[in-house]
């Protein structure tokens, strides 16, 4: 055979394999409203940048007549490409081939591309669409999962890892996404759970639909397992690209800066926050009032809404924002909001992204359910994450900063580099009502009119202590600033922190309150 004919033969082989599980299986995939594995990769990557490897892999299962079966690519596609010119390693499970089930060679393809991502220090995107372990391959498929989880763990904090759930991802398979940095889900398509509705029904007698148990809404609103929710695969891919644009390729680099822009004039920073500390407002407007082009890329938008986290840019550079949200539960810290913010702070720290914190919280959420759910341990994660972070850390106290909440939200005492406060800030051990009731208990009780006396004492306390100047007089607040100076102060403080040197005591690793 001439090379030309051999080349024609190669093209034919490739075409056959590219069809995955064949026309019929593809039609079924499409009828479920899903794209094929190959279409998904191509939709995420820059045009014509996808290069595939291990196309000719064959599975090694010999039992249960598996040796007679051909599984194209063994049900997974791996390769490299680019997203906005950033090099990317990617894999996509192909549900049309044996339900995307994971056998030994399938797993070896995934671990090959993971090893590649680690060696080249580039982001890894994994697209999950699989019925789970290939039962016929027995312990080999379990070994395959284990090898993936181990690599996820080693790669954590070294390269960004993104998991995209575009089909079922059940049983042990869910642990790979859970170990990665960001999980993307799509309405009606994503399904994640450890044990499915069938098992729950037979074992526990509880009836629940797959969607309610582990659908996209459940994981983005109730469990917090998913960071990004989209109505369609197309929208999901846009989110992935936007995220890649904000983060660095690995932990030795900084995110690539883009052309700076001023915030939009429609966000009037001095008109957003009501002066009465009991009145709510949307803190996202404060973030948008300072970021370039007023862009804010929110993470965990639908879960633990009493804290807001996400990326924005300041003079072109990526910054991570953490902000209490007075709109929801008055912006308190609780179990979920602590988990949400602590992990994000650690992400930013691992990937050299400065953290800006907007503080306005009355404290921790009271309640038996919170205490019994371990709010002490969860709340401690926030303190741990801020204390440990060595990236530039800037706080702006917008309004309330009371008690333990004040300490937790990147205070000077946890080594914030710069702490600014607006003139309306109230930094105190607790709100004026609570404090007055304790300090002036006797005066109030002994008064002819206790209610009047209480009001008088609250006013007195407010006047004396509910302001930023007591903390500023002790150097805990570096500057009391006008709201309109906020962007300028934050930008400058990040600029002067460019050579920040801060190190932790030498240790194998800390023991955070997981």
């Amino acid at each position: 055979m001439s090379l030309k004919r051999k080349t024609v033969d190669l093209i034919k082989r490739r075409e056959k394999i590219a069809l995955g599980g064949g026309e019929k299986a593809i039609q079924k995939q499409v009828s479920l409203g899903k794209m094929t594995a190959r279409e998904r990769i191509i939709a995420i990557l820059d045009k014509d940048t996808f290069h595939e490897y291990d196309m000719f892999i064959e599975h090694e299962a010999r039992d249960f007549d598996m040796d007679k079966k051909v599984l194209h690519g063994d049900g997974v596609i791996i390769g490299t490409g680019k997203v906005f010119d950033a090099p990317i390693c990617i894999y996509a499970q192909d549900f049309t081939v044996a339900g995307g089930s994971l056998g030994l060679m399938h797993a070896r393809k995934i671990t090959k591309i993971m090893d590649h991502a680690m060696k080249m220090r580039v982001p890894l995107i994994g697209i999950n669409d699989s019925g789970g372990a290939r039962v016929q391959e027995g312990v080999n498929s379990l070994a395959g999962y284990g090898e993936i989880f181990y690599r996820n763990t080693l790669a954590s904090g070294v390269i960004p890892q993104l998991s995209v759930i575009l089909g079922p991802c059940a049983g042990g398979a869910v642990y790979s996404p859970a170990l990665t940095d960001f999980v993307f889900v799509v309405d009606k398509i994503s399904k994640m759970f450890i044990t499915g509705p069938e098992v729950i029904k037979t074992v526990l007698g509880e009836e629940i639909s797959m969607e309610e148990l582990g659908g996209a809404k459940t994981h983005s609103e109730i469990t917090g397992n998913a960071h990004f929710y989209a109505d369609s695969e197309k929208e999901c891919f846009e989110q992935i690209k936007e995220l890649i644009n904000y983060i660095p390729w690995n932990n030795n680099q900084k995110a690539i800066a883009i052309k700076p822009k001023e915030p939009k004039k429609s966000f009037k920073i001095d008109e957003i926050v009501p002066s009465d500390p009991k009145q709510p407002y949307d803190v996202k407007n404060v973030i948008r009032a300072v970021t370039d082009n007023s862009d804010f890329f929110e993470i965990h938008e639908k879960w633990a809404k009493n804290i807001v986290i996400g990326f924005g840019r300041l003079k072109g550079e990526t910054v991570g924002f953490v902000a209490n949200q007075p709109f929801v539960l008055a912006g308190v810290l609780d179990v979920d909001s602590s988990d949400k913010s602590a992990r994000f702070i650690r992400y930013c720290d691992a990937f050299n992204i400065p953290i800006v914190t907007f503080v306005d919280l009355p404290g921790y959420l009271p309640g038996v359910d919170q205490e019994h759910a371990g709010v002490i341990r969860h709340g401690a994660k926030v303190l741990y994450a801020y204390s440990e972070a060595t990236v530039p850390k800037i706080s702006v106290i917008l309004r309330k900063a009371y008690g333990g909440g004040y300490i937790a939200m990147n205070s000077r005492h946890l080594r914030a580099d710069f702490v600014f406060a607006w003139p309306g800030a109230e930094i105190a051990v607790m709100g004026p009502e609570g404090a007055a009731n304790i300090i002036f208990r006797k005066e109030i009780a002994d008064a002819d009119n206790p209610d009047e006396m209480r009001k008088k004492k609250i006013k007195e306390y407010k006047h004396k202590f509910a302001n930023p100047y007591v903390a500023a007089s002790k150097g805990y607040v570096d500057s009391v600033i006008e709201p309109k100076e906020t962007r300028q102060f934050i930008v400058h403080s990040i600029e002067v922190s460019i050579n920040k040197s801060s190190s932790m005591p030498k240790k194998k690793h800390g023991i955070p309150p997981f």
């Binding site: 074992v203 526990l204 007698g205 509880e206 109730i222 500390p277 009991k278 009145q279 709510p280 809404k305 009493n306 007075p326 709109f327 929801v328 539960l329 008055a330 912006g331 308190v332 979920d336 009355p362 404290g363 959420l365 009271p366 309640g367 038996v368 359910d369 019994h372 009371y402 008690g403 607790m430 709100g431 004026p432 009502e433 609570g434 009731n437």
Partner: protein, 106 residues
């Protein structure tokens, strides 16, 4: 703003009432109740496969009350103290959810 204001609810933190949205999780949270020591509830959903006691029966600490099959295990539920059975609230082979009242002591 005033229309929007009506949608906010108040949340009391250390004596101060803040106006804010509440989350579903917060609004639907279960109120904690002091456990009644005289009642035995299912600690896990499952099936009552055997009932060993009748109303009015005297039992000793450690006597088997009933068997709750859950998670493929036949869990023996025993009397936590000496006492008399006031009422049995389930029938044999009944599927029970978590925290269902099963046996009540006098």
């Amino acid at each position: 703003m005033s229309e929007e204001k009506k949608r906010f609810k108040s949340l009391n933190i250390e004596g101060s009432k803040y106006y804010t949205y509440l989350t579903n999780k917060f609004e639907n949270r279960e109120k904690w109740e002091k456990p009644n020591e005289k009642t035995i509830k299912s600690y896990i959903p499952g099936k009552i496969v055997k009932i060993d006691v009748k109303e009015g029966q005297k039992v000793k600490n450690g006597d088997t009350l009933f068997i709750l099959e859950a998670m493929k295990m036949k869990n023996k539920i025993v009397a936590p103290f000496n006492g008399t059975i006031l009422k049995v609230h389930v029938k044999k082979n009944e599927n029970v959810p978590k925290n269902k009242l099963i046996v009540e002591f006098k």
